[in-house]
Symmetry: C2
């Protein structure tokens, strides 16, 4: 059951990659799978629900390189940050799509908690751990959204140059976190 639902989701992601988030409309998506727009509402109650499902699908680890839970906190933050950015850059308007996500589910909260736990074992207070993780995630989202949407010089840089810029900023934050450690 629900395989048609997945077919809609799959087609939506393909359409996103071809035309961007602006061109992703219920009517065009429906046409792509040989159906009328109204039929999509049997599978998703609204366009926003479909967009949310796309975010969850893309952000779900799958076989992503995830650092083991006993890895050092900075390695875990690096992996999460790079993985998140990777997912966004892998799809046209990926960052903008993520930014439309309204209600983070339990799996997002779980990933968040794992990172906080890793920092806590390094000796931070609970509050400091939350601040650290929040800061890294806000940086990743802000940086990648700008990298992918803004018409700035950096947009024309080659990928490895942009990776370097991103990681330099990330290391800056990790250094800041390290300084608050006992």
């Amino acid at each position: 059951m629900g395989q048609r639902r997945d077919e809609v989701l799959q087609a939506a992601i393909e359409l996103l990659d071809e035309v961007g988030i602006e061109g992703l409309t219920m009517r065009v998506l429906a046409a792509r799978i040989g159906v009328r727009a109204s039929a999509l509402y049997r599978h998703y109650p609204s366009k926003q629900a479909l967009l949310d499902a796309m975010v969850v699908h893309l952000a779900t680890p799958g076989a992503d390189p995830q650092a083991p839970a006993d890895a050092p906190w900075d390695e875990q933050l690096r992996q999460t940050a790079n993985g998140l950015r990777e997912v966004m850059l892998a799809h046209r308007d990926g960052a903008r799509l993520m930014s439309t996500f309204h209600t983070p589910g339990p799996e997002a909260a779980a990933g968040f908690h794992n990172l906080v736990a890793a920092l806590r074992t390094a000796g931070t207070t609970p509050d400091a751990a939350v601040t650290a993780v929040d800061t890294v995630l806000a940086y990743v989202n802000g940086h990648t959204l700008e990298e992918q949407t803004r018409k700035t010089d950096a947009r024309t840089w080659p990928r490895d140059r942009r990776d370097l810029a991103f990681n330099n900023g990330l290391e800056l934050i990790l250094t800041g976190i390290r300084a608050t450690l006992p």
Copy 2:
């Protein structure tokens, strides 16, 4: 000349505050100033041009608390970061509006360059200064976008609690920058 153009801009900002970015349409905006939608295109070539003008207008310092150019680099970064967040939070969907901004103008580049210069006098390399400023701005945009749009626990926190969370993250980054200083 152009005072009608400013009237449109003013009305657009008022409408944004009342109905949000979703409800900000050319037709409703036109009705508000007693005109048809098509008349707006005498003043702005497109809706995107109007949105860009709104961002420039809101982000233009005006009489904002701006740190003097000879203030220490961290004080300047704090002022810029808080000022930017303040502007976003002062308007409904302010952060989302800013994120639609496609082509940063020369005034944005000038503000950026001032911050880089402040860091350079503190002894950083040019590259490190750019990274530091980029990182702070990405954090502010990412954090505020999340603060204003995401349906998370933090959204219901009182303002002073949210200010604290924001500033804690900011100080984390400033500490990281400080560690790279000679």
